[in-house]
């Protein structure tokens, strides 16, 4: 493309200064050409959402914008609130992370789309709304637009949001983590819908895998600065900045597996299924699954396919309504199965110092009695093994980052050397570096002999971590297994 073409969005020396003087965004310059998909990549706290808000003029009262910001050739850096209101929707569109959160729950979805016209005082063209939804892949759009958001699936609702954001054909569309609330197999189709909507796209994401696959160019953010801009292939093959290398590390294969897997199964589900209300609600169709000692099994499937129920079965929190579960006697002793959960904060007692949470399994039945000092010492050891030796063991969970909290949870789950660790979406709340930590730690635990059952919607993670992956399919009511070969 020529440099003469007017970019859809360009900013140079963009900075955002909060009232307290801190600058979450410093001297960021980039431009997005018409039709291009430009991605801003960075973990949490790198300023990427702040940039998105600044681009939309939503940086909030008190904070100041520096540098220049041009939307479709119009300078917006000094624009008034009224100017911004006219520009939004016309010159710049926005797609938010979670489609359910971004729709007013009380109004039908059609209203949500129609608002794009209404709030600029334009007549609503319902026929066009339906036609656009159809084009973006929403079947039966004419009927569905009368239904409230909670009856829509995430992928469909996100399409409606895209349709609303591009209703007035803005030259640029800002999409802030548009797929992170969706199941993995839906994410790609939503990105396709996004690209087919006709605007240039500024894709903001922490997901390096997604960005590498979809962006034309990628800008890497680190601590509020744009440290590197490159095409996906260049970024992958020749990363220059340390921050980029750190992000890429999340894609790197884990150290080779020390195959300690023995063929003897630890737990075996035979046609085990769960249903409630005398069979009217089926939580888990009859499923076969076997986990060997020391084996890492990944589990994936769309939401509603019964992943959580399967985990509860394995953990023994639920009994199957049909079929049987065979357990190795070693799983009968308390503490043989320990969990790692999705929300790291909720899985720790908020008012306990973290050493107490970590050492709690040591105080269980069947464990030798330890004094408080001994418990603290063991907790400190465990913290060292998960790389938290510099954190105060008396800290409360709220003082730690989410990634650190998850490492605390892993320390707790490994402190008694359980035979089986059950991890439910252990990385979904975390950013790339933390994901790398957590998966490394889980792998380590498995190398020390624990079997591992990991549920995740992150296929890349399962591919790197698991010995094999089981897919629960809501439609076929079958669990299919696919093996990975580790290199």
């Amino acid at each position: 493309m020529t440099s003469l073409a007017k970019p859809a969005l360009s900013c140079s020396g963009l900075s955002v200064r909060y009232p307290n003087g801190s600058m979450p965004v410093r001297n960021v310059s980039f431009s997005v050409a018409a039709g291009e998909c430009f991605a801003l990549l960075g973990g949490s706290g790198t300023g990427k959402s702040t940039i998105a808000r600044a681009l939309l003029g939503l940086h909030g009262g008190g904070s100041r914008i520096g540098g220049s910001l041009q939307l479709d050739g119009v300078d917006m850096a000094q624009a008034s609130k009224a100017d911004w209101r006219r520009i939004r929707g016309h010159k710049i569109g926005f797609v938010a992370q979670n489609p359910w959160v971004s729709c007013d729950p009380l109004r039908p979805v059609g209203d949500h789309v129609a608002e794009a016209w209404r709030c600029h005082g334009l007549p609503v063209r319902w026929a066009e709304i339906v036609a656009r939804l159809d084009r973006l892949g929403v079947p039966e759009a004419a009927v569905r637009i009368h239904a409230p958001p909670h009856t829509w699936s995430g992928g469909m609702l996100q399409r409606a949001a895209i349709s609303a954001a591009t209703a007035l054909t803005p030259p640029i569309l800002v999409a802030d983590e548009p797929t992170s609330a969706l199941d993995a197999d839906r994410a790609q189709s939503v990105i396709q819908a996004l690209k087919s909507a006709g605007s240039a796209i500024l894709l903001i994401s922490h997901d390096i895998d997604l960005v590498l696959r979809n962006a034309d160019r990628i800008g890497v953010l680190d601590q509020g600065e744009l440290v590197e801009v490159a095409t996906p292939s260049d970024l992958r093959s020749r990363p220059r900045h340390p921050a980029t290398k750190r992000l890429l590390a999340a894609l790197a294969p884990l150290p080779p597996r020390r195959k300690a897997t023995s063929p003897s199964p630890l737990i075996r589900l035979e046609a085990a299924g769960v249903s409630y209300k005398r069979g009217r609600i089926q939580a888990l169709p009859a499923t076969n699954l076997s986990i060997g000692a020391g084996e890492i099994v990944g589990l994936q499937g769309p939401s509603g396919s019964g992943k959580s129920t399967l985990l509860r079965l394995v953990m023994g929190l639920e009994t199957p309504s049909t079929g049987t579960i065979w357990r190795d006697p070693i799983l009968q002793r308390p503490g043989a199965i320990l969990p790692v959960f999705q929300g790291p904060l909720a899985s720790l007692v908020p008012h306990w110092p973290i050493w107490r949470s970590i050492s709690e399994p040591l105080t269980a039945r069947g464990q030798p009695r330890l004094s408080k000092q001994q418990l603290k010492a063991r907790a400190a050891e465990a913290m060292q093994s998960v790389g938290l030796e510099l954190v105060d063991p008396h800290a409360r969970p709220a003082e730690l980052s989410l990634g650190q909290c998850q490492r605390v949870a892993i320390a707790r789950a490994t402190i008694t050397r359980p035979a089986l660790i059950v991890a439910d979406e252990p990385t979904s709340a975390l950013d790339s570096p933390s994901i790398q930590h957590v998966s490394t730690l889980l792998r380590q635990a498995a190398d020390h002999g624990a079997a591992l059952l990991v549920v995740s919607h992150d296929q890349g993670l399962l591919a790197r971590l698991a010995d094999r992956t089981v897919t629960l399919d809501a439609k076929n009511l079958q669990a299919t297994t696919s093996g990975h070969t580790q290199d």
């Binding site: 320990l338 954190v391 380590q444």
Partner: protein
């Protein structure tokens, strides 16, 4: 053999955040104001329970309806009793009763609610149906009904208010304990094999008690108001004993000539409710928020 971490940054502790609840309250702007006010009122009530400058109940007709002065900072009432002494003497009844009722419904609610929630089955059904029936009447109306049966009186009033309120706390405690049972940290402890009693005492009860305590502290202001209201109607504290609401009732006939009779009790009620509201709201702010989003 162990993987080296590229990112073992020490925790960037933002600022030493206070860890104890009371300290957190103290660091909350309006919480501190509420605490100071509440402490002062508690001190006032404790002093009043053991000592007053003059006999609060002894009429002295020569001294009747004296405006505030050095000897009588709050003036005197129609029978010449020292209003300051009466206010001081009333404090432990007005405040103590409200605290007592709330403490009682808190304990009853906690016990019944967690028992129902944790045992389940028939116990749960029986307890919760009882609570449901008690909740069909609005609290104040039920209190009136109980007072109608038992007759007016301070102890009857306290009993009526406890009967009127316990069910709400029991219901809440039950749903909180059901929630707590499914908290990830509780499941983790269960799987680890931590004995049930330790899970209940270490995980569930503190959680439920904290949430229930926030609700109770938010209700304290209303309870202070209710007790003075019933006493105002003559259904609570009986003469000659002083209570702020009852003092307002005594003052009604004279307020055109002696405004101070109204100001002292009304002001004390206002300050108490204000302090309770400030503390309750601050407590909700510092301890209630349990959301988790990065």
């Amino acid at each position: 053999m162990t993987t080296s971490f590229t990112l073992t940054r020490p925790a960037p502790l933002p600022r030493q955040v206070p860890r104890r609840l009371l300290a957190k309250l103290w660091h909350h702007r309006s919480g501190r104001l509420g605490l100071i006010l509440g402490l002062a009122l508690c001190l006032f009530a404790m002093v009043g329970a053991v000592w007053t400058p003059a006999d609060p109940n002894q009429p002295n007709y020569i001294n009747a309806l004296k405006p505030p002065q050095l000897a009588h900072p709050f003036g005197t009432d129609a029978t010449g009793r020292d209003m300051f002494s009466r206010s001081l003497d009333a404090a432990h009844r007005s405040l103590g009763a409200a605290t007592l009722v709330l403490a009682a419904v808190f304990v009853i609610g906690l016990l019944i609610g967690t028992t129902a929630g944790l045992l389940g089955g028939v116990v749960d059904t029986v307890l919760m149906r009882t609570a449901d029936i008690a909740m069909t009447l609005p609290g104040l109306v039920l209190a009136f009904a109980v007072l109608g049966i038992l007759g007016p009186g301070f102890l009857n009033l306290l009993l009526a208010l406890i009967i009127a309120d316990w069910a709400w706390y029991a219901r809440l405690a039950r749903s909180l304990s059901l929630n707590a049972r499914h908290q990830p940290h509780v499941i983790a402890a269960r799987l680890a094999g931590v004995p049930n009693w330790r899970i209940i005492c270490g995980h569930i009860l503190p959680d439920v008690a904290l949430q229930l305590g926030i609700v109770a502290s938010l209700a304290l202001g209303g309870m202070i108001g209710a007790i003075s209201g019933f006493s105002f109607l003559g259904l609570g504290v009986q003469p000659p004993h002083a209570e702020w609401g009852a003092m307002l009732s005594e003052a009604r006939l004279y307020f055109t000539v002696a405004l101070w009779l109204l100001i002292a009790p009304a002001g004390l009620i206002f300050l108490s409710v204000l302090s309770a509201n400030l503390i309750g709201n601050a407590l909700r702010d510092v301890a209630g928020a349990k959301d988790e989003q990065s």
